[in-house]
């Protein structure tokens, strides 16, 4: 113990302290979260396999719908839909769980005693899920293209913008959901509304264009609908400037709402 106590006695004022940057801190946190994700088999299954499995299982349903009138086919429906599943199952649902469980474990509180800023904690913890969602989206695009003979995207930039906005709004909504959720058990229920509403109404399976007008109008205002539509436009190339602007506006508004909820309501330690 005496040598270790000497280390404790060493002077506290170190002139050359290597400062850690925000990137250093978030990388360290992300690395730990990635390790933890690797040790959680059920989450790993949801994250890595479920989006592809759901996409394949939807093939029959999508094929039974008459898509020709809208100039669509199974490929241009299922490919954007698969990215929607990736956002929901690889990003949204696991991230809500991560935030809520870390709060219950008092990890968030502990992290706040250090040099990390609040937003770095939220972003660093989200980083592995975000990267997995991106990698998975790339694989799903390649897989769907090969399987369903989807040609190369005609306006690829719309798809990229759609995916990036999708990552932003989904991540923000995950933090907002965690802000409104107290316990890990409750989190399993709390993710359901967005997952169900998005799956049914955001064009993941049935494009909103095929829905009755009034229903479509409401569905177009859901957070993931514009994301899916932007991605689909990347392949169909069929998007007017007005449509794109409206879609951008809807995603940005949802992101802002989520950020405001997080700023106002996010708790960093469990209620006692």
């Amino acid at each position: 113990m005496s040598t270790t106590l000497d280390a404790a006695r060493s002077p506290v004022l170190e002139p050359a302290r290597t400062p850690k940057t925000a990137a250093d801190r978030m990388t360290a946190l992300a690395r730990a979260e990635l390790t933890l994700l690797g040790r959680n088999k059920s989450t790993l299954f949801t994250v890595l396999l479920l989006p592809a499995m759901l996409t394949v299982s939807m093939y029959g349903t999508v094929n039974s719908v008459d898509l020709g009138k809208q100039g669509l086919n199974a490929g241009t429906v299922l490919l954007p839909g698969s990215l929607g599943f990736a956002l929901l199952f690889a990003l949204y649902s696991p991230l809500v769980g991560i935030y809520v469980v870390r709060r219950e474990e008092l990890v968030l509180k502990r992290l706040r005693t250090g040099e990390l800023h609040d937003w770095e904690i939220l972003a660093g913890a989200a980083l592995p899920a975000l990267l997995i969602a991106v990698a998975q989206s790339a694989l799903l695009v390649v897989g769907c293209s090969a399987w369903l003979h989807v040609p190369l995207p005609r306006a690829w930039w719309l798809a990229v913008v759609g995916l990036l906005l999708g990552l932003a709004v989904t991540g923000a909504l995950a933090a907002a959901t965690a802000a409104l959720t107290r316990t890990a058990e409750a989190a399993q229920i709390a993710v359901m509304p967005l997952m169900l509403v998005s799956t049914a109404g955001s064009g993941l399976i049935v494009p909103t264009d095929l829905l009755p007008d009034k229903v479509a109008m409401v569905c177009d205002l859901l957070p993931l609908t514009p994301v899916i539509q932007l991605i689909r436009s990347g392949w169909t190339g069929g998007a007017g400037a007005g449509d794109v602007l409206r879609e951008l506006l809807v995603v940005v508004v949802w992101t802002l709402i989520a950020v405001l909820v997080v700023r106002g309501r996010f708790r960093w330690e469990p209620r006692r």
Binding site: M1, T3, T4, L5, D6, A7, A8, R9, S10, P11, V12, L13, E14, R17, T18, P19, K20, D24, R25, T27, A28, L29, R31, A32, T35, L36, R39, N40, R102, E105, L106, V107, L108, K109, R110, L111, R112, T113, G114, E115, L116, H117, W268
Partner: protein, 317 residues
């Protein structure tokens, strides 16, 4: 605030929770550089609520906190790289190993020690590959301490650092905390263990229901407390037969059956006069108990004020 010797300054600090409960009700104290200061109090006295404000985890509801001359809440960036914090309860992901936990924290901490050195410091090197969930309570406390010490902080906040440790773990932690103080670290610790405050602290404040009930150097706090003198009144004698109590420096007295209990600030005088009176009267003072003031007395008295008069005897036993 440049040039000030005070590393921690607290003025009229208040903390009110959302439900309206006021946990900290206007406390003030300062801690000088290199000093070891203890906040002593029973559970619920407001220790953790106070330390969280010093750590910058929440803004105060009123009053002012300065750590190293900065507001720890609004000027986080200026304060955090120079402070180390040990919370009352860990806060580590259960599925990470000890090494992975320290490595993560080191990645977030400017000027962090090497992981191995940090684990040596708290004697956890042998447990480095063990998952956090498999650590004992004491090992978790030591892991927490390792993280608090990672950056060789100038100021160290320790919230009940030895709760859950066995006697040896506690002694080793005390040794480590003393070594850190010797190295110039300013330490603020909370504890509900009297002997911990007495063993480590140069100065302390006793918190009670969100207020400081007593504060100062340990001997000052003790000196402010009266000493006690108790005995059984000999048969046939009454209180009025004793030497005049005010001449003995007695501030108050109480009787229970034949037992007389005196409080005095002049213990030697009171005891001398009383024993001389007994000798001259030719009586024996049965059950004679002469006790000088102690930190324990001070602490128990404060705790007793809340829990009612019966609590004292119970707590002493």
């Amino acid at each position: 605030m440049a040039g000030t010797a005070n590393v921690i300054e607290v003025e009229e600090l208040r903390r009110t929770y959302a439900g309206g409960f006021e946990a900290v009700s206007g406390i003030s104290f300062t801690v000088a550089r290199g000093e070891l200061f203890a906040l002593l109090g029973t559970n619920g006295a407001g220790k953790t609520s106070t330390v969280e404000l010093l750590e910058g985890l929440a803004p105060p509801s009123g009053g002012r906190v300065r750590v190293l001359g900065h507001d720890p809440y609004t000027e986080r960036g200026a304060v955090r790289p120079r402070t180390g914090v040990m919370l009352q309860e860990g806060g580590f992901p259960a599925e990470l190993t000890v090494t992975e936990t320290v490595r993560m924290w080191a990645g977030c901490t400017s000027g962090a020690r090497p992981v191995a050195e940090a684990l040596e410091l708290v004697d956890l090197a042998r447990r480095s590959q063990v998952r956090v969930k498999q650590l004992s309570g004491g090992e978790k406390r030591r892991l927490d301490l390792a993280l608090a010490l990672l950056a060789r902080p100038e100021v160290l906040f320790l919230d009940e650092p030895t709760t859950g440790l066995d006697a040896e773990g506690r002694r080793e932690t005390w040794e480590l905390v003393r070594a850190l103080r010797d190295g110039g670290t300013t330490v603020l610790l909370t504890t509900h263990y009297l002997e911990e405050a007495e063993a480590l602290a140069e100065r302390l404040a006793i918190l009670h229901e969100g207020r400081i009930a007593a504060s100062g150097r340990v001997d000052e706090v003790v000196a402010a407390q009266p000493s006690h003198l108790s005995f059984d009144l000999p048969d046939g004698y009454h209180l009025g037969d004793l030497p005049p109590l005010d001449r003995l420096g007695v501030t108050s007295h109480e009787t229970a059956g034949r037992t007389v209990r005196l409080k005095t600030k002049k213990l030697q005088l009171a005891a001398t006069e009383l024993l001389l009176w007994a000798r001259d009267s030719g009586v024996e003072l049965r059950g004679l108990d002469v006790r000088s003031a102690s930190l324990e007395e001070a602490f128990l008295k404060i705790a007793q004020d809340r829990r009612g008069p019966d609590a004292e005897t119970e707590a002493v036993r």
